[in-house]
């Protein structure tokens, strides 16, 4: 290593680009012959570059801290925005679903007719077995076989119909699209039960009488029967008389009045 401070100063002036003319030429000649001077020059250049590298590192370090904050904030904001967007879109979807459901319900509410309520709720009564081993109604066989015309014809020939006869005749009339005859038969059965203090086919008759009123476009008469069924959660037709059904029926009953 060259320890001559004059030479060192010259070397520094050389790397700083401050040497000119004779001084520059002389130093270059000296560097060609003096290895230790050349080595010192190289080391001074390293020192100069180390300072530059240190400066760059400090500059990047300062920006690094700032950028990490920015990038992390951006990420957090993105997460928050993402969550907000999910909530926003979920709310919109929920609102849309509620709106669509509301519109559908309104449509159902205002477009409901007694006939529509009848068709949506009516299932023909199915006779599975004889009710009583000795007193089998003559109407059972044709009713079971789906011959409603014969069922009603036989009923009309009876002198003293039983509760089952009234009930099957009412259902045959309902299936045949003759609600007036069905109503008449069901009311007769209710009267018979009342006078004889019996309860034969009582709940089935209530339900099919109410349906017969609907088929007859008489919502006002059907409403109190369905309301009674709705009020009794042990009634076998309770599920058929739901709240929404009653609501629509009430509107129709009001219209009728």
């Amino acid at each position: 290593m060259n320890n001559n401070s004059t030479n060192t100063e010259l070397l520094i002036r050389f790397i700083d680009g401050e040497l000119e003319n004779d001084e520059l030429i002389a130093l270059k000649e000296q560097l060609n012959t003096d290895n230790s001077l050349a080595a010192e020059l190289e080391n001074l250049r390293y020192a100069k570059d180390a300072i530059k590298s240190y400066g760059i590192r400090n500059t990047v370090a300062a920006v690094h801290s700032e950028m990490m904050k920015e990038l992390n904030t951006t990420k957090t904001i993105a997460r928050v925005i993402s969550l907000k967007q999910i909530l926003k879109y979920s709310s919109r979807i929920a609102a849309m679903a509620i709106l669509v459901l509301g519109i559908a319900m309104l449509y159902q509410y205002f477009s409901a007719t007694p006939d529509q309520l009848f068709r949506n709720n009516y299932n023909a009564f199915v006779l599975h077995e004889s009710r009583g081993s000795t007193d089998v109604s003559a109407l059972e066989q044709p009713y079971k076989s789906g011959d409603m015309k014969t069922t009603m014809k036989i009923f009309n020939q009876l002198n003293s119909p039983t509760a089952e006869d009234y009930f099957l005749n009412g259902n045959a009339a309902l299936q045949s699209g003759n609600p007036s005859a069905a109503i008449k038969s069901f009311l007769a059965l209710q009267q018979k039960n009342k006078s004889e203090n019996t309860h034969l086919f009582e709940e089935d008759t209530q339900y099919y009488l109410a349906l017969a009123y609907l088929q007859n476009n008489d919502a006002a008469s059907a409403l109190p029967i369905f309301e009674n069924i709705h009020a009794d959660n042990k009634h076998p037709y309770y599920r058929q008389a739901g709240s929404w059904f009653i609501t629509k029926l009430k509107r129709l009953a009001t219209e009728k009045k």
Partner: protein, 202 residues
């Protein structure tokens, strides 16, 4: 610079070379490249902190290369940075010596590198030693040397920020400081041996 600003590679290199507003160029590199680096390091057994450290190191190296005209634009800045990042990180993994498998992965990845940038792999440990040496200089020395060699300020401008009588005093101080730094650097054999590769990438 607006956050959404975009620089062409040419504009970016000019910005990084100049001393006027290198911060804007560095910020642009962070905004455009950091996510890629982080994803790569995370996918290769590195933590978020590793990603931050490696990226910072790679940016310093890249700016040094640009300032020394050693980046010739044979590939895009993004491709070049990715290549340096990958090599630096794989080298780091190899040093950590976690597994034989990783060594095999390292060799395979090195072979597949399109550019020959193996000499640019940042020797983080040597660099750290070098920066510690510079850091151990007195504050006044660092201030004068940084002002002159890094900020390229003239002596008269440096004098305005220092409490010295005249330019010659500052000049003498600068001379002593640089000589002191040179002696400190060469006093560490391991560091002295690697100065060329660490500072000149040769």
């Amino acid at each position: 610079m607006e956050k959404g600003s975009h620089f062409t590679d040419t504009a970016l290199l000019q910005l990084l070379k100049s001393n006027e507003s290198p911060d804007e160029g560095i910020k642009y590199l962070y905004r455009s490249q950091y996510t890629v680096t982080k994803a790569y390091i995370n996918q290769n057994n590195g933590s978020d902190q590793d990603a931050e450290d490696i990226f910072q190191e790679v940016i310093v190296t890249f700016i040094e290369l640009v300032k020394k005209d050693k980046f010739r634009g044979e590939s895009s800045v993004a491709t070049f940075l990715y290549a340096i990042t990958r090599n630096t990180w794989l080298n780091e993994l190899k040093k950590r010596g976690r597994s034989k498998l990783r060594d095999e992965k390292f060799e395979k990845a090195k072979d597949s590198t399109e550019m020959d940038i193996s000499h640019l792999i940042v020797n983080r440990e040597i660099k750290r030693q070098l920066m510690q040496v510079v850091d151990s200089l007195g504050d006044t020395c660092k201030k004068i040397l940084l002002a002159f060699y890094f900020e390229n300020l003239a002596m008269k401008d440096i004098l305005k920020t220092m409490q010295y009588e005249n330019e010659q005093v500052v000049r003498n101080k600068k001379y002593k400081c640089l000589k002191q730094l040179e002696q400190m650097m060469t006093a560490q054999p391991q560091l002295a041996k690697n100065l060329k590769s660490v500072l000149f990438y040769e």
